[in-house]
Amino acid sequence: MQANKKESILEIRNLNKKIDGQTVIDDIHFSIQKGDIYGFLGPNGAGKTTTLRMITRLIFPHSGDILIDGHSIRNNSVLALSRVGSIIENPAFYLHLTARQNLTLSAKLAAVKVPKTRINEVLSIVDLKEAKDNKVKTFSLGMKQRLGIANALLCYPSLIILDEPTNGVDPMGLREMKALIKRLAEKEKITFLISSHMLREMEDLCHKAAFIQSGKIVEEGDIAELLNVYQVTNLEDLFFACIKENLT
């Protein structure tokens, strides 16, 4: 009940997407409240990245709408996305530039004024301050992921969207990333939408989740409540229980 009182930061309304005549996202809808760490979970090819691309306006839905902080992405995508930081599929940077130069360019393109000190600040948060003057082409995948998070944090976001953020991250890095996300959610009051097919890794991170399978949301809600409803003990079992329920 407490969660329902919270303000919604992201609302997905009856979203549909067809690619080459085939429906890949089928009337999905869910909403995320401020302060949530929300898991968008499902197997590879389920439609997670496609949905996130639609949220960030890289691709366009055939029907439906997306509201971020009350602003429709159809009507004013720049305003709607002005306080959103994101990594979609993999973090992309200009490899011939240093981490600092990439973030400087990113800051110049931001809707909000980003002070120069903010660049060092976000690099410190992701523990990349020592590597700030190294070219991104010398970075490991894990370092690029952390730089991606730094870039997402740059404009004081209220919502951060992370698409498979644990890809290519070693166990140590994974632990640090989870701690970082939890810290940011608690201290900075940032809402997270995290997609992943690695259900076990998301288990102790997300409070709520939507399970997506073949472009459809098969279940959505508070993870603790869902575990209780389906009488299972972990996310993986919960996911399969949801699919089974959906098939029957």
Binding site: R57, L58, I59, S82, N90, F93, N102, L109, A111
Partner: protein, 259 residues
């Protein structure tokens, strides 16, 4: 406006420090030196130049049509296809940059690159021209015979006309690049189009409306034809600019970017 400026200045700085620009400069320099050598060995009849250092740059503009067209196409590929393939387009679009701002920044970048390339060509022309022929006492360019500052003025005007025509050609490449995945394919297609296009301009009735006519002759016709002819040609190029810019933007605006 802030975003357009930030993106354009970023692209321009990247171009100025790119290895490709150095390669283009060396290719033009080699071509110009070769022309100078052939002139010295075989005489004026074997080249398109008259043998005066001051008119060498403007005479040589036309010689590089295919090279210039390919270089422009490669540049367009770098600022759109490569951005898409490397995913860096999302680095920009996931910030508060609208697709309109992004596309306008690409158009301005192509304009600046056309100007930069033309400036390089003209400067190389002066250096190589001075080395092989000295300054000379006469400036000769088709029916224009003059000297000194007047010759430089004609060269600059012809250069601007040349750059403008290639800018429009770059806009065609920008539109086409939305359907192509590889820079090499775009460069080959655009380069081939100039070879074919040279034959289209034999039809007098349509040639003034064909871009290839302007790639080859706009900078010459400016001095050889009537003012009304030049105004019409300029109007045709502006028409291309409006149609290609608008059509390209609307395509880009609706395009799904799987990056």
């Amino acid at each position: 406006m802030k975003n357009i400026w930030a993106l354009t200045s970023f692209e321009f700085k990247r171009t100025l420090t790119s290895k490709m620009l150095l390669v283009y400069t060396l290719i033009y320099a080699a071509m110009y030196v070769l022309t100078g050598v052939i002139f010295k060995v075989y005489g004026a009849g074997k080249t398109v130049v008259a043998g005066y250092g001051q008119s060498f740059p403007v005479e040589m503009l036309q010689a590089g049509i295919t090279f210039t067209a390919v270089f422009i196409a490669i540049y367009v590929g770098e600022i759109l296809i490569q951005e898409r393939n490397n995913g860096t387009i999302k680095f920009v679009l996931l910030r508060s940059v609208s697709r309109f701002q992004y596309y306008i920044s690409r158009i301005i970048s192509i304009f600046l690159f056309s100007l930069l390339l033309t400036t390089i060509i003209i400067l190389i022309g002066y250096v190589v021209g001075l080395l092989f022929f000295d300054w000379g006492d006469t400036f000769v360019f088709y029916s224009v015979t003059t000297s000194g500052w007047q010759g430089i003025r004609v060269t600059v005007l012809a250069g601007l006309a040349f750059a403008f025509a290639y800018f429009i050609f770059g806009l065609i490449a920008l539109l086409v690049s939305q359907f192509i995945q590889r820079i090499a394919t775009l460069a080959m297609l655009m380069g081939l189009s100039t070879l074919v296009g040279q034959y289209i301009v034999i039809y007098d009735q349509i040639k003034q409306y064909v871009i290839y006519e302007h790639l080859l002759f706009f900078h010459i016709n400016l001095f050889e034809k009537s003012i009304s002819y030049s105004v019409t040609s300029f109007g045709v190029l502006v028409g291309y600019l409006i149609v290609l810019g608008t059509a390209g933007y609307f395509l880009f605006k609706k395009q799904d970017l799987y990056v």
